[in-house]
Symmetry: C2
Subunit: 363 residues, 2 copies
C-alpha cells in the first residue's frame, strides 16, 4: 500500500456513493490487527479487543480469526449484538445496570461465554440471581479503580468483593479488571503507569494470599498497550482504538496506522476564506481533537459548522463544489457510533459496505 502517513493517493481512488461516509482502509486495518496480535502473542498475553470502538461483528470476526480470545463490550446492548453476530466469548467491561443482569444471563443460557465486571455487592448479587434464574453461569470480575475514578473498587476492597463473587451461586470468579483511561493519551505516562502497575501487582498478591488467585487480569488500552504488555501483569489486553485509530491516539504516539477516514462533499463554495462540506456534528465526534483534513484540500483546516456541515478553511487551491474532501476523525469511538455502516476499502478503491450492527441504542 501507499504510505500510511500520506493516504491521499489511496483516498483519490475511493468514491463512496454518498457522503458523509466512513471508509476503513483494509490494508491499514489488517496491519493494525496483525501488529497488536503479534505483540500480544510475543508477550504471552491474550487479546480481547474492545468492540465499543467499532461496534461491528464483521470487524470482530476479523479480530477473532487472527487470534483474539473474544471481545470486550462496554454495554449490554453491545454484548447482545455481538452474540447475535456469532461472537461466543464476551466480557462486559463496565458495571451492569439492574435491567442488564437478566439480559446477560439470557445470552449465557443461549450458549455464549459471558462475563461482567462488578464494583459492588449489589451488582454481584443481581448477576448471581439472574444467572441462577436463567439456569446459566456468568463469569464475574472485580473492577479495580486505579485512578480513573469512574468505576471500580478501591484496591484494598478487591479481595472482599472477590470472596463474595466466589461464593455467589450462578457466578464464577473470573479475576480482575482495571482500565486506566486517564493514562491513555497524556505525555509522560510511564511514571504514573509504573505506579498503577505496582498497585495492581499488590492487588494480585492480596488475592493470592486470600486464596483467590485471579484467573484473568484484564485491562489496558491502545495508548498504553506497549507498557501494559511489558508490565507482565496482564493476562488479557482490551485495546480497541488501535484497529481504526484517530487524531487523538495518533498524537499520543500509539504507533498504529490511520485506517478510518470520513469522506465529505463540498456543497457550497461561495467564499474566499473557506468552503462548506457536508460532514458536521452528526458525522464526526466533536469531543476530542478537531478532525484533520488529510486529502482533497491542501493545507486546509476543518472546523465544525453546525450539525450537518463543516468548514474547510484556507485550502490552496480550494476544492471545487462537488469535490470530495477526506477527514481524519478526532476521536474514533463516538465517531463510528454516529454511523450505521462504513465501507471497507481495498487499495484499488473497491468499497465493500460493512454494517456497524452493534450501534443500536435500543435493545
Amino acid at each position: 500500500m501507499d504510505s500510511p502517513s500520506n493516504p491521499a493517493a489511496f483516498l483519490a481512488r475511493c468514491a463512496p456513493p454518498q457522503t458523509p461516509a466512513l471508509i476503513v482502509r483494509r490494508a491499514a486495518l489488517e496491519a493494525n490487527l496483525a501488529d497488536l496480535q503479534a505483540a500480544c502473542d510475543r508477550a504471552g498475553v491474550a487479546l480481547r479487543p474492545h468492540g465499543k470502538m467499532h461496534k461491528s461483528t464483521a470487524v470482530a470476526h476479523m479480530q477473532i480469526a487472527r487470534g483474539a480470545v473474544g471481545l470486550s463490550c462496554q454495554t449490554v446492548g453491545e454484548a447482545e449484538a455481538f452474540a447475535a453476530g456469532g461472537i461466543g466469548d464476551l466480557l462486559v467491561t463496565a458495571p451492569v445496570p439492574p435491567w442488564g443482569a437478566a439480559r446477560l444471563a439470557a445470552l449465557a443460557a443461549a450458549g455464549a461465554t459471558v462475563a461482567a465486571v462488578a464494583d459492588s455487592p449489589a451488582q454481584v448479587q443481581r448477576l448471581g440471581e439472574a444467572a441462577v434464574a436463567a439456569g446459566a453461569r456468568l463469569g464475574c470480575l472485580v473492577d479495580v479503580d486505579l485512578g480513573l475514578a469512574r468505576a471500580g473498587v478501591a484496591p484494598q476492597d478487591a479481595p472482599g468483593l472477590a470472596r463474595l463473587i466466589a461464593k455467589t451461586p450462578g457466578l464464577g470468579f473470573g479475576g480482575i479488571q482495571s482500565y486506566w483511561g486517564h493514562l491513555q493519551h497524556g505525555a509522560g505516562r510511564e511514571r504514573p503507569h509504573d505506579d498503577a502497575c505496582r498497585t495492581l501487582a499488590a492487588v494480585v498478591d492480596a488475592l493470592r494470599r486470600a486464596g483467590l488467585p485471579p484467573p484473568v487480569v484484564t485491562g489496558g488500552g491502545t495508548g498504553t498497550a506497549a507498557l501494559d504488555l511489558a508490565s507482565g501483569l496482564f493476562t488479557e489486553l482490551q485495546a480497541g482504538s488501535y484497529a481504526f485509530m484517530d487524531v487523538q491516539y495518533g498524537e499520543a504516539g500509539a504507533g498504529f496506522r490511520q485506517a478510518l477516514f470520513c469522506a465529505a462533499t463540498i456543497v457550497s463554495a461561495r467564499h474566499a476564506t473557506h468552503v462548506t462540506c457536508d460532514a458536521g456534528l452528526k458525522a464526526l465526534a466533536s469531543d476530542g481533537p478537531t478532525p484533520r483534513v488529510v486529502a482533497g484540500a491542501p493545507g486546509a483546516a476543518f472546523r465544525f459548522f453546525g450539525d450537518e456541515h463543516g468548514a474547510i478553511i484556507g485550502a490552496d487551491p480550494a476544492p471545487a463544489e462537488g469535490a470530495l474532501v477526506w477527514l481524519q476523525p478526532g476521536h474514533v469511538d463516538p465517531t463510528v457510533a454516529l454511523h450505521d455502516a462504513l465501507f471497507l476499502a481495498d487499495e484499488d478503491g473497491t468499497l465493500a459496505p460493512l454494517a456497524i450492527d452493534a450501534r443500536r441504542t435500543t435493545g
Copy 2:
C-alpha cells in the same frame, strides 16, 4: 401536567426498560407544537418544521396534523426517510451534493412534492437535469446568505440565480430561503435581526423588479421565531428545536417547554464526590452547553466521563447505585441523532416507543 419547569414529579413516574433512554413528554411536545402553529396562524405564515431535529416520521405527522404545510429536511437521506414515512411535501434546506439530485428527482417522480435550495449554477443545472431524466419536476429556491457564511449566494446575486432556475427545464422557481443560524442563540439579537431583515426585504424587492416575485420566503428558527413572524417578510417558518427544546434554546429564552429528557442509571457509586451514570458521549451531544441534571440527583452537575458514562457531581443526597437520574440535553439535534428510538411519555408515565427512523446515515 405538572409545572414544565420542574418536571421531577413527572419523571419519577417514568421507568424506561433500559438506559440511556430518551423520553419526550407528550404534553410538553403537544403544547410546543400547538403554540408555534398558533403563532404562525396568527401571523399568516406557513409552518414547515425542521425534521433534522427529530428525524421521526411520527413526530412529523403530529406536526402536519396540527397544520404544518410540509417538512424541512437538511439531507437527501432525511427527505427519503420522510417520504417513505408518508410526508408528501419536502424542502431540502441545504445545497444538495451531486449524488443527491437524482435521488430527490426519484422522490418527486414517485409523487412527492420536493424542493431544494441552491447557491450555484452547477447545482441548479444538476437538479434540472435530474428532474428531466426522472420525468419529474423539482422546486428550486435560491439560498441567500445573510451572515452565517455557510451556504447561500450573496444578496445581490439572488436575482441572477433565480433567473437561471426559472428558465431551467425540470425546475420551478420556488422562491428564496435564508437561515440565520448565527442569530439563533445570542443575547441582543434584535439589532442584527433587523439588519438582516432589511437585506432580505431588499432581495425580495430586487426579485420583484426582475419579474421574479418569490412565491415562498422561507427560513427562521426557534431562537428567532417571534422576530421572524413579526417581520412580515417570511411566508414560511422552518423552526425545529421548539418541539423538543434543550439547554441551549432554554438559555436563549425561546419560550417553549422542555419536552426531551435523557434517563441514565447510576452504575457505580464508590466516591464521595461523584457517582457514575451510563450516559456519555454516545447518548448526549457534547458540542453545546453541558447537559443539566433535572431529577434524581438534587443539586448535582453533570460532566461527561467517557463515551458511555457521565459523572453526577455534588448531589445531596447522592443517588444510589441502580437509581435513575434525568438529564436535559445541551443541544437537541445531535443528541436525538445518536438514538434509534425514543419514548413518548404520558403524564402517568406510560411510555410508547417511537422510532427515530430518519436518522439512518446510509441511503
